[in-house]
Symmetry: C2
Subunit: 294 residues, 2 copies
């Protein structure tokens, strides 16, 4: 399989698993399942679960061994988007070309659907770890929890929140992205590596690759917010400027941001050298993220 074929193969696996992951079956609250699935199956790049599957394959780990964690991390990502879009937060009406969760189901339900997705992520990982009586999966789960929490993604969301409407320096912006976006991109890579029995050295270089990928992802997002179109992105571009947010563009300008994007990506790819051709997919994925238009 070439890169595109393998990517499609991964995404198909992920979409199927996600669509069947919400096993809520109660006549009194069918709407909760609907709200959870609405955002969970809204498409998107599926970058995080793809990273988990691809990292597993470096070690010859079957997708089935990693898919539960892959989907759990996508659930965490999805809940964070639902809560981020709320009126009290970014107040977005559209996400991935569809109405945001609270626009469809109301604010209260969106809050609860987000909560339920975060909890479902842990239920999913716990059931998977229990089924295999796996201590490695317990360790992987601990890594995911750390990256998802107050010292990871949520910490980044708080920095973001506190930076609105004031000038943020490059150090604070870097800390914000490392946590808000970077943490949950490291999570699938490290979790899959731990499940695959990676050594400390392998875990460390993969984590560095993921950190660079996360940073590149964010720089590209900021570029797209200036250069992208509503059609391609499925949401309104120029939103950062409207919200008066500090971005790579406001700090470094468009041209230097583009150079940084390329440098950070190349550096990330360089970390994979020791894995030879087994890491080709991860290399190509990093390059594809530079080229993306949404």
């Amino acid at each position: 399989m070439n890169f595109k074929e393998k990517q499609s193969f991964y995404i198909k696996l992920i979409e199927e698993k996600l669509a069947n992951s919400v096993a809520v079956d109660n006549p009194y609250y069918t709407s909760l399942k609907e709200a959870m699935l609405y955002s969970l199956t809204a498409g998107g790049k599926r970058l995080r679960p793809t990273l988990a599957l691809a990292t597993g394959e470096i070690f010859g780990t079957e997708p089935g061994e990693v898919i539960a964690f892959a989907c759990a991390i996508e659930m965490i990502h999805t809940y964070s988007l639902i809560h981020d879009d709320l009126p009290a937060m970014d107040n977005d009406d559209y996400r991935r070309g569809k109405l945001t969760n609270h626009k469809m189901f109301g604010e209260a339900m969106a809050i609860l659907a987000g909560d339920a997705l975060l909890n479902l992520a842990y239920e999913t990982m716990l059931r998977d770890a229990l089924a295999g009586s796996s201590m490695a999966k317990l360790r992987a789960m601990e890594a995911v929890a750390r990256y998802a929490g107050a010292r990871g993604m949520i910490g980044g969301q708080v920095i973001d929140l506190q930076g609105e409407g004031r000038k943020v320096d490059s150090q604070e912006l870097a800390a914000m992205h490392r946590l808000k976006t970077g943490a949950l991109i490291k999570a699938p890579v490290e979790a899959a590596a731990i499940i695959s029995g990676a050594g400390e050295e392998q875990l460390s270089v993969l984590s560095n690759y993921a950190a660079n990928l996360g940073l590149a992802f964010q720089i590209k997002d900021d570029i797209l917010d200036v250069e992208g179109s509503m059609e391609e992105m499925g949401k309104r571009p120029g939103n950062d400027a409207v919200c008066n947010k500090s971005t790579y563009i406001t700090l470094y300008g468009l041209e230097q941001s583009k150079r940084m994007l390329q440098e950070v990506t190349d550096e990330g790819i360089a970390f994979l050298e020791g894995f030879g051709s087994k890491a080709d997919f991860l290399r190509e994925l990093a390059r594809a993220l530079v080229r993306r238009s949404n």
Copy 2:
């Protein structure tokens, strides 16, 4: 130690552990820790963690073996209160005699502090299970996750949400309480029993005790909302009526509700027979909840 002394001993352990549980130390977001601790250390009855410690003691399990799970469940309870109090949900200004989280820190921070507490609950349990390489704790965590999620507490919150402003029948009200309050009262009892190596039969009777305790707790809450005072409860009584909520009082009347409270409590206590005097604390706790004024 008599009941009161033992209860104080448990609560002291719990308060200490909770106060030291938020290890977020980042200059960019000290306010997150503040918001999390504000609600986590706001007092309250500490019913859920107390239940975990007391259930452990039936089996001779040291409090130290159960305290992490006890506090994790209190974190889950606390996050659910923060989100429940939000303007889009119950829109409460006071909780336990203090301003609600969003009134103190703003809505966005309250949403994130709630998310962070839910996540911290899992981080806490995971670290504890990892430290002991404990498969029993993995199983206990799975039970907690099930009771906290869409098929448990959150499912109950959704039923509650959908019942506002319309007449709810007794079956739906029972389902709502079984999930919204009952699930997270079962969680500490079952988790502690699993950690303690309880057999299926023991687990089942303890679960039945907890189910009755949860139901009694809810009936008493409804009674207090009619009979209680702002001073004693730390929040505005009569809120159910204002919100046009269906309660045990609206369905059965005050007198029958009081009879039901006593019956349900007695039945719960009866489940503990096989444990002899070891379960005295759990019996006394059930009786204390009937007498409580807040």
